[in-house]
């Protein structure tokens, strides 16, 4: 558990601070100020609105494909804030909307990739939505190919270590991804070289329709770390603070040269796998409904309110502000032009097309 640190809320001041700061003192998790906690909450709210918008646009026939991270927001935001943003790299997978938004991707950039516009900074409309590539914010390029990126992340960490740069690499993936050979090869490599890596499994218990018990014979993904010579830690990935403290510890281990950690954040998948899937073909409506009780957003909201860090008025204001931002981003991105045929041949090689 995190060491507790005292902070006077009255000192917190930015546009996320509440209108009338209560003069109370509460214990905050190590490394997190009241302001940061509110910011994290804000990222979760923003993510949910972006994801809802993605699905709505898909249903309206405006975008061909959408995938959301609903149920994963707490784990992703916690991980992003446990890193040194601007220094540490994230090597995410396609379900990491919240991680990306917490790591500096803006709503406009998010909407541009949903609409696959020419000026979509991730891929210029070449990739599926949520396939980020943002080097200036230290977000690696995402492939749709499951687990390929885990090997890249390990290679990146090796490069940082060789150059003696104190950079930590966070690599994320689902529990299904841990069945791929590449995943095991990457874990092994990282273990042998004791690389500065944090592996974070976002375990939602399903890989499309395949439940965890058909994916592995062990009870926890974290159990697999032992085979590679580094620790595996489990946390409740719907609990922001719990995930934060576990990832933070792993980041510290990595940065101080003590090698990798495998963090398993137990989350859930609220929606179908993607807009092309219908989860009711493999789990019941009752099962899906029951998941809502684990929604990390109201849970974090209650946690913040209990500690006097947020009140209803501020929550309302934050939600309205985020909604306005997503609406503006949607209208703006929709109005941007798609790529044209002239853009087909750029960036095949550094020198351009060969023929």
């Amino acid at each position: 558990m995190p060491a507790l640190e005292e902070e006077s809320l009255a000192n917190a001041s930015n546009d996320l601070s509440m209108k009338s700061e209560p003069k109370i003192r509460v214990s905050l998790p190590e490394g997190l100020s009241a302001e940061t906690l509110r910011e994290m909450y804000g990222r979760m709210v923003l993510t949910r609105l972006c994801d809802d918008r993605a699905f709505a646009l898909n249903r309206q026939g405006k975008i061909p494909f959408a995938a959301t991270c609903q149920g994963h927001e707490a784990a992703q935001v916690a991980a992003a804030y446990a890193l040194k943003r601007g220094t540490d790299w994230v090597v995410p997978y396609y379900r990491d909307t919240a991680l990306a938004l917490a790591y500096g991707v803006t709503p406009r950039e998010q909407l541009m990739c949903l609409f696959a516009r020419k000026d979509d900074i991730f891929s210029s409309g070449r990739q599926f939505p949520n396939h980020y590539s943002v080097p200036d914010r230290k977000i690696a390029s995402i492939s749709s190919i499951i687990a390929a990126h885990v090997t890249h992340g390990v290679g990146m960490a090796l490069a940082f270590a060789m150059r003696k740069e104190p950079i930590v690499t966070l690599i994320t993936f689902g529990e299904g991804s841990t069945s791929e050979g590449e995943w095991h090869e990457a874990m092994n490599f990282a273990g042998i070289h004791q690389l500065p890596v944090v592996f974070m499994c976002e375990n939602n218990e399903f890989a499309i329709s395949v439940p965890q018990k058909l994916q592995m014979a062990v009870a926890n993904v974290a159990d697999r770390a032992a085979a590679y010579g580094f620790p595996g830690v489990i946390c409740d990935g719907t609990d922001v603070v719990a995930t934060y403290s576990v990832v933070r510890e792993a980041v510290e281990r990595a940065r101080s040269g003590d090698g990798p950690t495998l963090v398993e954040a137990k989350v859930y998948r609220a929606m179908s796998h993607t807009s092309d899937d219908n989860q009711l073909t493999y789990r019941t409506q009752d099962e899906v409904d029951a998941l809502k009780a684990r929604d990390p957003i109201p849970r974090f909201e209650a946690w913040l309110k209990d500690r006097g860090l947020l009140d209803d008025a501020t929550i309302k204001q934050m939600k309205q502000q985020a909604q306005a931002e997503v609406d503006e981003a949607t209208d703006w991105a929709e109005a941007q032009p798609p790529p044209t045929e002239a853009d087909l041949y750029t960036h095949v090689y550094a020198s351009g097309p060969l023929s």
């Binding site: 409309g125 492939s143 087909l344 095949v348």
Partner: protein, 332 residues
Amino acid sequence: MATAQVAKQTQSTMVQALQSALVEEMDRDKDVVILGEDIGVRGGVFLITEGLVDKFGTDRVIDTPLAEAGIIGAAVGMALYGLRPVAEIQFIDFIFPGFDLLVTEAAKIRYRSAGQFGVPMVIRSPYGGGVRGGSYHSQSPEAYFVATPGLKVVVPSNPYDAKGLLIASIRDPDPVVFMEPKKIYRSVKSDVPAGTYEVPLGKAAVVREGKHASLITFGAMVPVALEAADIMNKDGVEVEVVDLRTLQPYDTEAILQTVGKTGHVVLLQEAPQIGGYSGEIAAFIAENAIEYLEGPIVRVGGWDTAFPYALEKAYMPNPNRVVRALKKTLNF
């Protein structure tokens, strides 16, 4: 072509035709076992195996872990020791983690064991663009497999052929890569007999007769070729469309016949041109039928880039590009 008597004709999609091939073969031979990601209760992401787990149980309809090397490698082992596995790779773009098991192992075991072992397995996998699948749900990588002696490569273009070719592939003693054109899974219907029949591997079909030019293609490009032929027909040009159906071994006789008849050849594929399958057919024609040619062999394919998401339409060959190619060889 059909080897069995036709009991009942129904208009079916390719999805239904493929499913009926699997069901009939699994009914006929208990050694036929299917495996792949999400093929059980989900019925596969394209629902080819919908309901099969209820009919045949989890022993013969195996939802595998998310691991293509494991799927293909296990299928090789199953095939080596008496089963007839039909493995599904969810999209052919995901076959590469298992590529080694396919091209180094499955393809070569018969040869390296001097015929003592054989690998009677089928890898079924949806391929191709046109469904807004982006970079990694759209590719047409047939050339890698064709370039590997020991593998057979089959690509149906319509429901009737899909059923007969899949049955023939399952019964074949060697590994078959069975590429399913996902764009026409549900968009093309044809009569599909209820009973079992085989469409033999290695035999092309002339899907439209013509005497002025030969348009040789396969899979999801067959409807594009037919559209182009329609357009040419308005000017009185009769284009013969040949559907190869099996890419390896390919039907040399059918190719020589159509080239001899028309003297003009256009080759159409979806994959990037560079190193593509059409190059093989062009070389074969140049080596064996140059005396018939009255114009250059012209290729139409995808552009030499990765497959783009937003620019899918510009990327994929369309009837107008095929028409331009036909005119190029005809006006030579």
